[in-house]
Symmetry: D2
Subunit: 337 residues, 4 copies
């Protein structure tokens, strides 16, 4: 049994993480942290866990966490994460970090988009970006995984096959993405109140959303070229799920069938990628670790439609997928429900 801790246990991704870990046969959850007053039982924070897990949410420091856990899922906000990760690693745990702190290789880019100086710059070189469909080798041996963003995974997995083969231009790509509200987190804010979001659809963060440089960095790695995307996130009045509609420009001629064949070849053997002929909806992959994708042609314009559950494949699920690879468990352990 691997003893695991979840830091920042009060959020939505952490709840999904705990649920997945509860059914993982090789894991024991040994610590949950948050800054709640009075170390409440976890079911007071997440009532759905009532009767399922007898642990309290404690305000533990890195040393205390390292005493109890072999592996740590860090679901803290950015900045808070890089403040604790060095001590966790020094204490001998292996870390999957769900924040953005170790995703961007260039500290200047981090500072520009996140508005904070990076305080653990050296480790940016050794942290491994945890998108297993693009390669599992480095993940298997990593001590620190930078778990990808939810919009990011959707966009990268949707574009990687075509950009890797040079079938599309690396710039001028429109990524029009739509997310359920759970992606906005659990801190009470006016714009995520039910009465504001419900029966409404809205765009936000145009040109300023932090997943844009992350998408561009990773797709740049895949293509070996400078990649530029126009990324527009939207809020959908539903709990969970992301659908991205993506408009790249072809470098040459290709049919819909050609493109689908490329996807199928690229993702052959990947247990969580479903290349489909039909148009996927967010509901098809909700509450699962699947990534669904298809492509259509509208005249000469390819239109890629890609879906995943932002809390599972976009956060907690891929985190456990990375964990499985790190510890040598089958990649799908705990993730097929």
């Amino acid at each position: 049994m691997v003893r695991v801790a979840v830091l920042g246990a009060s959020g939505y991704a952490a709840l999904e993480l705990i649920k997945i870990l509860l059914r993982h046969p090789h894991v024991e959850i040994t610590a949950l942290t948050s800054r709640q007053d009075g170390s409440p039982p976890i079911h007071q924070v997440h009532p759905s866990l009532y009767g399922r897990l007898k642990l309290n949410c404690e305000d533990l420091n890195a040393k205390q966490v390292c005493e109890r856990a072999d592996a740590v899922f860090c679901a803290l906000p950015h900045v808070a994460s890089m403040a604790v990760v060095p001590d966790l690693l020094a204490g001998g745990t292996r870390v999957v970090d769900l924040s953005a702190d170790y995703r961007l290789r260039d500290p200047a880019v981090y500072e520009k988009w996140y508005g904070h100086v990076h305080t653990d710059v050296e480790r940016l070189k050794t942290a491994v970006y945890g998108l297993p469909e693009l390669g599992t080798e480095r993940i298997a041996t990593a001590n620190l995984i930078a778990n990808p963003g939810c919009y990011t995974s959707t966009s990268i997995l949707a574009l990687a096959p075509l950009i890797a083969r040079g079938l599309i231009e690396p710039t001028g790509i429109v990524v029009d993405a739509k997310s359920g509200v759970s992606g906005a987190g659990r801190a009470p804010k006016l714009n995520t109140l039910f009465s504001e979001c419900n029966e409404s659809f809205s765009a936000y963060g145009i040109g300023t959303h932090r997943h844009q440089p992350e998408i561009e960095q990773i797709l740049g790695d895949v293509s070996g070229q400078n990649v530029e995307v126009t990324f527009t996130p939207h809020l959908v009045p539903m709990d969970r799920g992301i659908l991205a509609t993506i408009y790249p420009r072809l470098t040459g001629q290709a049919t819909q069938g050609d493109l689908l064949a490329i996807y199928r070849e690229f993702y052959a053997g990947k247990p969580f990628v479903r290349v489909c002929d039909h148009l996927p909806t967010t509901k098809d992959s909700a509450f699962t670790n699947y990534f669904d994708v298809t492509v259509r042609m509208n005249r000469q314009q390819p239109v890629i439609v890609a879906c995943l559950d932002n809390l599972i494949k976009g956060a907690a699920g891929v985190a456990v997928q990375n964990f499985n690879l790190m510890y040598g468990f089958p990649e799908t352990t705990g993730l097929l429900v």
Copy 2:
């Protein structure tokens, strides 16, 4: 033209009030107040008003309000309301108060349920409870209207005809009420976040909801007897609307047809009450000032089903209905859309 002010303009009921007043032919909105920083234009607080009303949300005191307005709709929270109403009345305005501060006749009851000492006790005797379907005379001459609560109006209007005629027992009445989330207000709180409310249905405030004593007081007036209701509010994942399912006990024999006839006679000529044979849904009366009601028999148990829009007939609409009566305008002015 009556010059009107809306105090506490940032909430959901206030927004509906402003929209109704904008189409009222005899009203000019001259002041909006709230404690927003920097007196923002109202459309920054309520984007739906963009291009419709050029007024700022100002932090005005009672004297400043009285200089600009003849009538005041006070949409402040309880306690805040009774702190300003005396000065508004002294300043010569007539006030419709949407808070609970002047609804309960007995200051001890107020203190018990609201947890505050009442600071304007004398005026509790002269404030008029503004439920026009139970009588319009006192409303017409009032200077201070206590505008009813949303659950309260639903429950009282649903029970008044039967209790007035002595057809049901005054105690042991079960009122199982369900409300859209806008009833919970616009202040950011965990339990009204989209991701908490959506795809969830919940009961709350069992035995502790403040509308229970208000229902009992007014129905006590109607019946001339002590009335006791078991009131259970629930939260429905939708923006607006209340449906109450009510289970009184018959004092004698009566058929469904008998009871419906009583309702039709009791509410004859009331423009906003629709006694219907079909089962009303909240959607039928949403965005209107209508109150819909019917009754069914399940064996010998009457089951009353009543609906209204919590923000309109349950708050802003009835406020304008009261205002119309106070100023001698036709009762429906601005309210039939």
Copy 3:
């Protein structure tokens, strides 16, 4: 491995059943039936199953089903079910029937509420009502399980402890129940269109809903007395979950603490019942096989609040729970996620 078939595989409960069976370690799904044209792959009927199950929806008769399966989950509509169950049993399979056809012991009651003459009257005596929390012995040896209705399970489990101990009157019980829309099935009808249900809350079937006699029969068994409930179902704009608010009358004095203690004692050791101090919401048990219940006092009136997922604990989950008991697997197999 037990080979299982699912009849009527195109509905929502059948989809949940398939998902549970896919993760059940001792089951192989060998046949799916429906009357779809052309025996489509199951993922054309349920796109969420794409890549998870390579079976077609076939129009098989009982004989063909019996050749392929040891156990059958029958998710056909009522009437259709009793037309095929005799042949399935004769063919040697054991059957869990999710329809209402074998739930009511008295064929006259069935005929009155369902409007059809019962065509398999003899078997009503041997069919076992499958609510495991009320006793598992008869389920273990049954060949035909009548799987309970969703509203029914909620109501019975909420009332059984109090009625079994004689703490509440057996008549005059108000059951005000609210369900997500998936309970209304997948056949296209005006009243279950998104644009009709969304942003609306409604009551329906007052005095005519078929779960009322089912609740009364089973609670009559529990109490040994004639039980009468006033059952009012409502439709909530959400996918899944039932919450019932129940108002029985105490036969004597009892505190909230007394009543909660009774629940805890009655359900001790039951893995899927969670007696809680907090008010449960439908979201807490959504997508799980848990039944959550608590009780509050409003003056002397007990108010029971009970929740479950209508498709899981109210249909597919309890079906697998019954199956586990029939085949000697641990009761929770496949059901803790």
Copy 4:
């Protein structure tokens, strides 16, 4: 008073039309038609109209309609509309046709996209496309208005200012549009069931949606050039509202401020267009006749965000706006609420 009829009164746009006409001071509704059995009262078809309009839904022919009405709003499906419009015009009524039958100038284009031979080809030359913000003169004198599609109005109004001034390329325009479910109509279908749409977001009709050629035709008129758009519609789990996110390519250099200034100049004096600095949401314009639009720059890529209510500004509201222009009433009559 203009006597008006509504043909096809059972749909969602027709309901909105009736509500607007009920508050229009110069209109009397004299006939409602649909193919319902038994000519039911309109409130049996639309319960929200209970007590508001005493008319039945009758199965009238064109001659009968012409005897009762001066003006006709035709809310029939395509094909059904062109079967009756010639007789309505011959009978002396003026017609606003909400179907697509008279929108496309070229009968070959109609046949290609709608799969039907056009049976009233001559009238395609005289029907006037009713988008008042692009010019009101021809509307004022028209006898037959082709009322625009909902996605179409959103897209055209969002692009017209920039394309009219030659600031964007006329081809390669991505229109990523999202609509509430009411746009899909009221006929019961699997894909518009609550349990299918709710908690799901999906794309549909990629490359095949009939609003694509309509957008291209009208924008072609505006620009004097061949226009090509890549139009992708999506379904949002909400009742009403469309948001389009639009990605054109600039022909030269322009700042966000330049572009906003163009919009403000182009739409100066138009009472229902709100050019805003903030990002509009569908909720801001829901239940109104407003069209909201803004533009942002993401690097050199303009991102236009435009919203309207699909049933009002996208159907019933613009129909009445056209009617007002035809009859010389102020353009906003009945439409500012």
